[in-house]
Structures are given as C-alpha cells and as structure tokens.
Point group: none
Chain length 269, copies 2
C-alpha cells in the first residue's frame, strides 16, 4: 500500500502542483518523496522545462511566472509612465490644503512625487497611500477606516462612508477606472462608486489623472459626469477626439509633453 508507484505523468503533474504551491521544487526532495532516483526527477524537470511549464535551475526548478505572488509585486510595479503622471498631479496640489487621495498606483506615484516639505493634510482610505506619506514631517495624515477591499486596496464600506460624512476636502484626488467624455467617470465596484460619488459632491475641487488606455472606456458603475472634474492630467498620446470633447466640457487639461521613451508599455503576462 505504501508502495504506491507513481506513473511518470502523474509524477509530473504533482511536480507542477508543488511548483505552484511552493514557488519552487528541489530535485533531491522530489526524489525522496517519490522514491525514485534523482535522474528520473531530472528527466521530468527537463521535459517540463522543454514543454515550457517551468524554469529549470541548478538543483531544481522554479515556476515560469513569478506567480508565487509573493510578498511584494505590488509596490514595485509603478511604471515610469505613471510616475510622470503622478509628478504632474502632485504639482496641482496647493500647499496647506486638505486633500482626499483615492487608492491607485497613479495617486501613489503622486504622493511619491510630492516635494519633501510640502505642507498638506492627506485623507485617504488606502493603507498604501497612507504608508507612503506617514513618515513625512510636513503632512498631516487622516486615515479612513473600514474593511479593506483586496481588489482596490482601500476601504469603501459603510463605516468608511460614515467616516467621510463630515469631510469637506479642498481637493479630491480621484482615482478613476475608466473615463469617457460622454459616459463620464465610471468604476468597477458598487461600494466604490457610492463612496466616490459622495466625495465628489463634498469636495471643493476634483482632479484626476488618466492613462491613455483608460480614456474612452467605461465601467459598470457611474460616479459623476466628466464635467465634475476641474483638472485632468493626461499623457501626450491621449486620443485627440476625447481630449477635445473633455475640453469642451470645461475641464482644464494638463497634458504631458512627451511619453518617456525607454518604457515597457504594458506587460500582458
């Protein structure tokens, strides 16, 4: 009974599972586990690698995709394009004001781009945004609590809604999922939309940035018409038709002069 012989294919399938689960496999360990020689394991790994299912390395194998999804792929992936957008966004924030900052990599980039001693009161429902500015001497930080949604990385629930009921920010740094001159500002989450809708009405001035791929697209839940925005930061390659339409709606457009050259646009994997 304990002499369960694994079929070669069965073995390879299990190896792949382990690869996904543990983020790596070691030839020696596998050999001991399956009670076969390391040679057989090596052959398995070689075949799997040849089939494009894993990356063969000295001593074992690693999954092809860093799908290990381990600790920190999140912060690192703020591409240079968004850094540029964020810098321009940051320059629109007058010193001394109270700014609500949505979650989102562009806004995160904006926080990073803030001058070192820019005096501001930052209000946010995103722990990542908060962590970014928490250490700054010049910034007063108000955290909005609640259950943090993993997809967005921010709190949108009823408690968060209640927390912002009395809030009247000078500026709302809106994070958009999609933006269209006709469809307006739309997002993917229901609670998210409600939360943002409230903030739009309560803020003196709403500004946002949108990468070109978000322009002219739509999402299920509407937040506000495009004209609710006072300022809009765009990239240089934004579709001209959209830019013109948005401008007609009364938005002040801030376009980046140039798209950075040596930048990988988007990694589909």
């Amino acid at each position: 009974m304990q002499e369960v012989e694994y079929l070669p294919e069965e073995r390879q399938r299990i190896i792949l599972e382990r690869l996904q689960r543990d983020g790596r496999v070691v030839a020696l360990e596998l050999a001991q586990h399956f009670r076969v020689s390391e040679d057989s394991i090596r052959r398995d790994l070689r075949e799997l690698a040849a089939a494009g299912l894993c990356l063969r390395v000295y001593g074992g194998a690693l999954p092809l995709s860093p799908a290990s999804a381990s600790l920190t792929e999140r912060l690192s992936v703020v591409p240079a394009r968004k850094q540029a957008l964020g810098a321009r966004l940051a320059s629109l924030l007058p010193a001394g004001q109270v700014v609500f900052v949505d979650a989102g990599s562009t806004n995160l980039a904006a926080m990073r781009a803030l001058p070192e001693n820019q005096a501001l009161t930052i209000v946010t429902n995103s722990p990542l945004i908060a962590a970014e500015v928490a250490a700054r001497e010049s910034i007063e930080l108000l955290m909005i609590g609640g259950l943090v949604e993993r997809r967005t990385g921010a709190a949108f629930g009823t408690r968060a809604l209640r927390d912002i009921a009395d809030l009247r920010p000078d500026v709302y740094l809106l994070g958009v999922c999609a933006l269209d001159a006709v469809a307006g500002i739309t997002v993917f989450g229901f609670d998210e939309a409600e939360f943002k809708r409230l903030l739009v009405t309560q803020s003196r001035r709403v500004i946002t940035a949108a990468t070109s791929d978000k322009l002219g697209t739509g999402a299920p839940f509407a937040v506000a018409p495009a004209r609710a925005l006072a300022d809009l930061v765009l990239e240089a390659d934004a579709p001209a038709a959209q830019v013109e339409a948005l401008q007609r709606a009364g938005l002040r457009i801030h376009a980046d002069a140039e798209v950075p050259v040596n930048v990988p646009m988007s990694t589909p994997t």
Copy 2:
C-alpha cells in the same frame, strides 16, 4: 529556522524582492538570512548588477529604479534581530483567528514572517502594517481610522477608540515601548496608553515581543501589569532576572535560542 536551502536562482529572486521592498540590501544580512557565505551573496549581487537589475554598492546593493523611496526608508531599518523576533511572534498566531496588530517594527516583521497562506483577520490602526498585508489573498484586513500620529505611525485618537469599542479580538499583538516585571507594560503616549488599555481588556489573549533593550525599562504611561500578557517573545540575551520575574508572573516565555550566526557548512565526517 528552516533547513530548507534556497536554490541559487530562488535566492536571487528573493534578493530582488527585498531590494524593491526595502530599497536596499546588505550583503552581510543576506548572508545570515540565507545561511551562506558573503562570497555567494556577493557573486549573486555581481550577477544581478551585470544583468542590469541592481546597482552594486559598497556593502550591498541598491535598486536601479528609485521606485520605492520614502515608504521604505523607515521600513528598511528592521534589523535582523527584529526579524527573528517577528518570525517567532508570527508562529504564535493560530490560523483563522482575529488578530489586532499594533504599530511597530517588530510587529511589522511578524507580518512579513507570516506564512503565505495563513488565513487570518488582521485589524490594525497602523497604515504600515496594513500596507504590508493588504495584498495577501488569505488575509482579511480591517483598518482602524483616525488621525495618524507621526511618532508612532498609527491612529490612537477618539475616532480610533470609538472604532474598536465593539471589537473583541482573539489575539492582541501588543506593541510595547517598555516592559518591566514590576512596572508592567508602559508606553510614551497618553492616547496610545488609553487605546492599548482598552484593547488589552477586550482581547482574549495578549501577546508581545520585546527586544532586550526594552526589558527592565519604563515609560510615562501604564497600559497593564505584565501578567496581562499570555505569551512573551524574548531574545536569547534577555536579562535573566527579568525573565525569571516575568515567568513567575505566569507569562509563557518564548526565547530565541540563538542570535543568527553564519554557521560553517563543513562538518567533520
């Protein structure tokens, strides 16, 4: 800790991750962490630098993209000692429970040390702690809002107090400023003390870790007597008198066996 030896490529991957996360890596620390000689680490860093993935500097390496700036400056100063404490602390958290996590570098280290798939509900008033676990699939995250105090990096005010009024965590991962067998648990902030006092009474089990330099010291505001702690994680070089007194008070002491050392690999046959 773990007798699992890392594959070379795996090591380099992890080094890159830490590079992104902490904004720097130190050769000596890496050598201790991976239990390999500094030579191997240096070779890794050289290869990564040759591949254009990092910038080699005297004593370690820096990321090429200054992607992570201010956020990580603070985080980077989590020395190896605290990492070890944090790992032990993390091992005390049973899966599935609701854990309130205070601010503090030791608790941050504990969050990092959590197994990838550990199912937990984390409640915290510290954006840094929250940001660390926000991306984890297996973790439910509840953020306590309020005005974030810069000194501590957490929210302790009236709003935060109100937010935890109904909270009854299974475990409270207390962050201490000072701990003494007689004086008990003390901290430097008034609001902080009040906040923690409430949590101590409302939690089923209170555990904490203390570096040796905190033992036998006191701070202005008392939180609770030492016996309020169920478990206490200490370092190997903790003063024996204190350890004994705390043990008499009924605390379960978890002492690190040894401060990490670069162990020689070759063993006489």
